[in-house]
Amino acid sequence: MKENHTFKMVLLGTTTIAMVVTMYLIFIWVPTEEEMGVVQRIFYLHVPLAWLAFLAFFVVFIGSIMYLWKRQEKWDVLAHSSAEVGVTFTTLFLITGIIWAKPVWGVWWTWDARLTAALVLWLMYLAYLIIRPYAADVQRGARFAAVIGIVGFIDVPIVALAISLWRTQHPSAVIFEGGLASTMLATLLVSLFAFTLLYWLLLMLRIAIRKDETELKRLKEQRD
């Protein structure tokens, strides 16, 4: 346990440093983009958030498979915690998408491929999290959630494919053009790295809290 604690402190430290550096890079260091102005800086948050939304769901997927296979609670704890962190990131991604869209393109929402896919992903996260209290008991809730995690994750690429094909049929006026200068690329990569660490940290913390909750409940049961 001691070793675990040290590891967590190291992770906390590294993440803090990485995030501070990232914020500096995003808001101060990287030059302002020509076309969109200051608000474009959201891009450096927006993209890593998308990456994390997906990564977190992948972890949910793996955790769900392992849980159904091995029936060990630790896998469900992993999947559940990742889903909670993931849904938060997805929500932030959607919000930053809205914040970005309005000043730049004049609309609150664009049904572009990324945002739409993220919205569907968000709904799947929601289904994953909501099903638990609706089940007859905790174990069944966990099993149902695992089923949703697996089916949902496999669906994601199909959703993305369908949406991007749809988008080519109905292109909208708002398109984000590529072309990244080296400074922008560097900032983006650092941001990606920092956010991945943040995900990891939050995941560990959430799992630890969940373990404590379970322990507390168990002690209460014993006392009664």
């Binding site: 008991d137 905790v138 174990q139 409940k217 168990r218 049961e221």
Partner: protein, 241 residues
Amino acid sequence: MNESIPLSSALEVWELTKTFGNNRALRGINLQVAYGDFLIIFGPNGAGKTTLLKILATIMKPSSGEVRIGGLDLKKDTEEIRQRIGVVSHQTFLYNNLTARENLEFYSRMYDVAEAGQRIHEVVNTVGMATRLNDRVGTLSRGMQQRFSIARALLHNPDIMFLDEPETGLDQEALPMLWQSLQNEGQGKRTIVMATHNLERGLELGNRLVILSGGKIVHEQTGADSDLSTLRKVYEETTKQ
């Protein structure tokens, strides 16, 4: 644990536990039932009777422990076990919109019953319901539905039967006749495990009794060992919460 056990046991349960989250429904059940026994499981509500029977009926998985039914392992040979057991519960397992005959035909196919028409005839006669075969189950009285449910459970001639409080809603006089015919219908004697909280009935029918309380077996005896009032006293004592 495996090879040295004589094959004469219909049911063997070792250290069976079942936990739902923080609720320990079964806390280490040990049981042995020989072929031909009629075991009665008494217990108040919440004692774990239904949980135990569901596990034995292969519907629910145990949290730990081992179960062998007819010599077969519950985990490994689940489908073979299902072919050999019959289950009757307070729910009929019958589709209300279909006729009794259609229900029985359906289950005959599920159990791969050979010569289904003839077999259906046999079991329906055993439970005394031949005249209502073509009626929709939903239109029958509760008692009649339950009789057809028993017919359903007998279709595939199981050696072992699990009954979970089956007498709810049945006409009381017909019951002993029913249980006896259940045990003796077809070739040989069936092994029956029945859960009930009716002490009088259980004492009448069973040759072995256990009392389940709080997820544990708190009392075991053979039927001959006591009369109703003694049993009632023992029951009250052992199931005090």
